[in-house]
């Protein structure tokens, strides 16, 4: 062979050229795009707007990412029906979009896998007791649409251990679940006070709680709401108590992918509608009477006045359908985690602002 280099280059050209010819689009053009500066980001968003809603309508159901079983938030019963605040939020969304609360599929996700599932488009919305933090909002490419539950991290300990406050936990071994904000909060809290600790991070909270039950660790930590739920799984729930101290702020809320403002608006305003409904006294029971109400705020929310649904690509009775699906926020809360449930959690911070709580919805107008 006189000229191996020529043959080699010919081969490469044939290969690359052949492949390039069959590609669905032009990668060279894409490679140049970053040079056109960040100004094009808005174009990108406009292109994607409405994409999620269009796909959800086409598919006929919403893919809703939930937990693998956290009583009160999202957990399946023996017949496989999901209940909980997070599951109900997806039902409300399904009601707002389809007029039917059950056009959705639940995707149980581990704490570790949930973000990748949302990033990759496997789910349309992540409604899985997820803390709204800056890094998740900015680095992961998500937008949080609001707060469904104001929570905070705390500890569960054995009553017999004589632990009264978190300061007594110096040197303790603490069990938790990996892939959550709890590991970082724990480290921050103990580091900030110069206390030593050992952390055992399990993949699933089921094993973590068994390890705690067997005495492998002195304390179990997660969000306070989760502690109440997990305590029910212990062999002797009454021998354990939850410390009153809260070591972190954990605003839990649903998240959507960044880049589709319409879908984000639908999720955000569905949540606001549920809160607004409680504030206006609209429940799933009196909804039909309220439809005849003369109160302009009620009229606007329920679609009797104005055309708020159409601005986000929905029907005008979107909010009425969401409320019909799950009731208002207060009903959702009491049904899933409230006083008369095994969890027995008081409204506390999750009461409406008019009752001294933090739940405050932007007005529908």
């Amino acid at each position: 062979m006189k000229n191996p280099l020529a043959a080699f280059i010919t081969g490469i050209l044939i290969g690359v050229g052949g492949l390039y010819f069959f590609l669905p689009y032009d990668p060279l053009a894409r490679a140049e795009r970053p040079a056109m500066s960040a100004g094009t980001a808005a174009d990108g968003e406009r292109m994607a707007a409405g994409e999620t809603l269009r796909r959800v309508r086409q598919r006929g159901f919403i893919q809703c990412g939930v937990s693998q079983g956290l009583p009160g938030f999202s957990s399946p019963d023996e017949r496989g029906r999901w209940s909980g605040i997070d599951a109900d939020f997806c039902r409300a969304l399904s009601g707002a979009i389809f007029g039917n609360p059950d056009q959705l599929r639940f995707r149980p996700l581990s704490a570790k896998d949930r973000f990748t599932a949302l990033q990759s488009g496997e789910i349309d919305i992540l409604s899985r007791n997820t803390t709204w933090t800056m890094s998740r909002d900015t680095q992961l490419g998500f937008n949080f649409v609001g707060v469904t539950y104001y929570d905070g991290q705390s500890f569960m300990v054995r009553k017999a251990a004589g632990i009264e406050t978190t300061a007594d936990l110096a040197g303790a071994t603490i069990c938790t679940e990996t892939g959550t904000t709890t590991e970082l909060n724990l480290a921050d809290y103990f580091r900030g006070r110069g206390l030593s600790y050992r952390v055992l991070s399990f993949e699933k909270n089921d094993e973590a709680i068994v390890a705690y039950d067997r005495g492998r660790c002195d304390a179990y930590t997660t969000d306070a709401s989760g502690l109440y739920a997990m305590r029910l799984k212990l062999s002797d729930p009454d021998a354990n108590k939850i410390l009153s101290e809260i070591i972190s702020k954990e605003p839990l809320g649903p998240a959507v992918r960044q880049g589709d403002p319409q879908w984000e608006d639908i999720a955000r305003w569905t949540l606001n509608a549920l809160l607004e409904a409680e504030e206006l006294g609209i429940t799933s029971e009196n909804l039909d009477e309220m439809l005849e109400s003369d109160n302009p705020r009620v009229k606007r929310l329920l679609g009797r006045e104005g055309a708020y649904g159409s601005t986000v690509g929905l029907n005008n009775d979107w909010a009425a359908n969401a409320i019909r699906a799950v009731g208002n926020y207060g009903e959702m809360f009491e049904r899933n985690v409230g006083k008369n449930t095994p969890l027995g959690i008081a409204r506390g911070q999750n009461a409406l602002w008019t009752d001294g709580g933090l739940q405050y919805a932007a007005p529908v107008r």
């Binding site: 062979m1 000229n3 043959a7 490469i12 990668p27 071994t173 970082l184 952390v199 068994v210 390890a211």
Partner: protein, 392 residues
């Protein structure tokens, strides 16, 4: 090329060498283009979705704690450091697991061929039970089986003074090396090197003269006596720092975590079941005539096994054994289920969750397992080539 072909086929499309060269270059071109295409697409999409990318995060403060660290690590260390901690935790489990499972596997494999009915059936039962239960269940079983009988730290079992056993682990006194430690380690090194040459010399002499010399025993004696003398002359090379009861737990000392013990136990027992079958197959492949010939020479059963059967069986054992060793290393990634902080738990778990950079983290994790597997394969292939049948 013309030299080889004698210049008969001219350069051009009709020359088969030119053709094959072009084809191969074309395939290489396609592969490169695909790699570039996927990388560019991923970057483009990540940028579009505002997801951070790149490996810069490795220098960022990790901020979370890890329960077992073989190198100094605090919450202020970087994600890169956390990666190293996880990697070392994986390696220590893999190495200990491999050594134990190969030893146990050989023992069970030989037992299964025993003429003693009871021994053979026990080994057969072991293999069937261990091989047919999923590894994850093994891990849960051993983890909770290890935890259940152990008391809390307040009621620790103290089998030896300064040694505590409780559900926080096995807590041992920690040796703190003093000024004479160097001489002590030097003595151990000298004994090891001496033993190595002693064994080589003994083998050569046996080949040359037929005389036996108990070189192994002599080396072990050397390994005990030499450092022992140094200890006596120069004083103890280390002082023991005893663990003390403090609060809920013990402070100081070294500890063996229940998670570590359960993981090693589960991996070892599970993999040993497979290795036992490989060993049995290898031994059965050695023809009966070899055994009979050894018996005719008057060799004992154990000597026959050691000098005649096993060396020939090894040729068949090593290749499948390699894949079992690789399996064990990769299976150690189930550690996160029982909270042992291995590479997958620390890096592909906590770090991935905190940074959200799935592509980088998973790629790095995959690269680690690939590298470990390739290194293992290389070593095993080298060993296999050494023991392969030498045609004379």
């Amino acid at each position: 090329m013309q030299r080889g072909q004698g210049g008969k086929v001219p350069f051009g499309w009709n020359n088969p060498r030119v053709r094959s060269f072009v084809y191969q270059a074309a395939v290489l071109g396609i592969v490169l283009a695909l790699v570039w295409f996927f990388t560019a697409t991923a970057q483009e999409n990540l940028a579009r979705l505002n997801i951070s990318s790149g490996f810069g995060f490795l220098d960022t403060t990790a901020g979370f704690g890890i329960i077992q660290t073989l190198i100094p690590y605090t919450e202020q260390s970087s994600y890169g450091r956390a990666f190293l901690v996880g990697l070392l935790n994986t390696l220590v489990v893999a190495v200990i697991g491999i050594v134990l499972s190969v030893m146990l596997g050989f023992l069970i494999g030989v037992m299964r061929l025993s003429r003693n009915w009871l021994v053979a059936k026990i080994a057969a039962g072991y293999v069937e039970v261990m091989r047919n239960v999923p590894l994850l269940l093994h891990l849960f079983f051993w983890y909770f089986a290890v935890l259940r009988p152990l008391p809390g730290p307040a009621e620790s079992i103290e089998p030896l003074p300064g040694v505590f056993l409780n559900n926080r682990g096995l807590i041992l006194p920690e040796p703190v090396f003093g000024a004479t430690a160097n001489a002590f380690f030097l003595a151990i090194a000298a004994a090891l090197i001496g033993g190595f040459f002693l064994i080589r010399w003994a083998r050569k002499r046996q080949v040359a003269t037929g005389q036996l010399f108990p070189a192994w025993r002599a080396s072990v004696a050397l390994l005990v006596i030499l450092p022992g003398v140094v200890w006596l002359v120069a004083g103890a090379p280390f002082e023991l720092e005893f663990a003390e009861h403090a609060g809920f737990d013990f402070a100081g000392g070294m500890r063996l975590l229940p998670e570590f013990v359960a993981l090693v136990l589960g991996l070892t027992l599970y993999t040993a079941g497979f290795i036992a079958e490989i060993v049995r197959a290898g031994i059965l492949s050695v023809s009966k005539g070899q055994r009979e010939a050894a018996a005719a020479l008057g060799l004992k059963d154990s000597t026959t096994l050691r000098l005649v059967v096993i060396p020939q069986a090894l040729r068949l054992i090593i290749p499948p054994l390699t894949s079992q060793i690789l399996n064990l290393t990769k299976n150690s990634s189930l550690a996160v289920a029982i909270a042992y902080p291995d590479l997958v738990a620390v890096f592909a778990g906590t770090v991935l969750n905190q940074t959200g950079q799935a592509i980088e983290v998973i790629a790095l994790t995959m690269a680690v397992y690939l590298t470990l597997s390739l290194i293992t394969s290389l070593l095993m292939n080298w060993y296999n080539a050494r023991i392969a049948l030498k045609e004379r």
